[in-house]
Symmetry: C2
Subunit: 132 residues, 2 copies
């Protein structure tokens, strides 16, 4: 059995965040000591690992709850969630790349000059690749 601090160091999830996840219904400490401190089993630790990983991958708490409660018995649904999220991520990458290109343009427009136009570049939409 692990204390919340041990779980925290093993999973990399901060202590208050673990308590927050409990509050949100993602996890629950299997036991409490006489003095009301949480004790987690190996299973609880792995569940938290899963949550951590899924959060790193950008899934929302709701999505994760969904995966944890509905999906274990339903691969099609799990698959759908993963695929939908992949689409989202690809979209975000595309948008960030446009953003990168524009920042380069803004930065370069003023490199090596005494006078630059970062401000007007920020205000100028005409060269934007994508429409806002």
């Amino acid at each position: 059995m692990f204390s919340i601090g041990q779980v925290s160091t093993r999973t990399g999830v901060k202590v208050p965040t673990i308590r927050y996840y409990e509050q949100m219904g993602l996890i629950a400490a299997e036991e409490r000591t006489e003095g009301n401190q949480r004790r987690f089993s190996q299973d609880g630790l792995e569940r938290l690992h899963f949550i951590r990983h899924a959060r790193d991958l950008g899934l929302s708490i709701d999505m994760i709850r969904h995966l944890l409660t509905i999906a274990p018995s339903n691969h099609a649904e799990s698959h759908r969630i993963a695929a939908a999220h992949l689409d989202e991520v690809r979209d975000r990458i595309a948008r960030l790349k446009r953003l990168e290109a524009e920042l380069v343009r803004i930065k370069d427009s003023c490199d090596g000059k005494d006078e630059c136009s970062v401000l007007s570049a920020f205000g100028d939409h005409t060269q934007c690749a994508g429409g806002h």
Copy 2:
């Protein structure tokens, strides 16, 4: 002079968001009508365009306030902000790409099978490219 609604349609910034920006000290309506409604000048409109663009580019409200107050007279500072932000964006792109690769792995690991392992894939860190 433009009403808040006209400014909203021209800039694409929603009405409550414009009021929020005012509250945050990014903009201020130049005038008010007898009946206390905001009226914006062309300048105000352009300032909001700038803010909209900078927000699209991912700059925080604080950064934008900084740009609007300190930077106009200080190109070096503006340049620094743009360059620092570019670094951030590149970092985000790199992380998202790792994420994308992993989502593909997770999805493919279960494509076309009757039984899949999305859940265990989410829980499995061993194949992560980057360390969490």
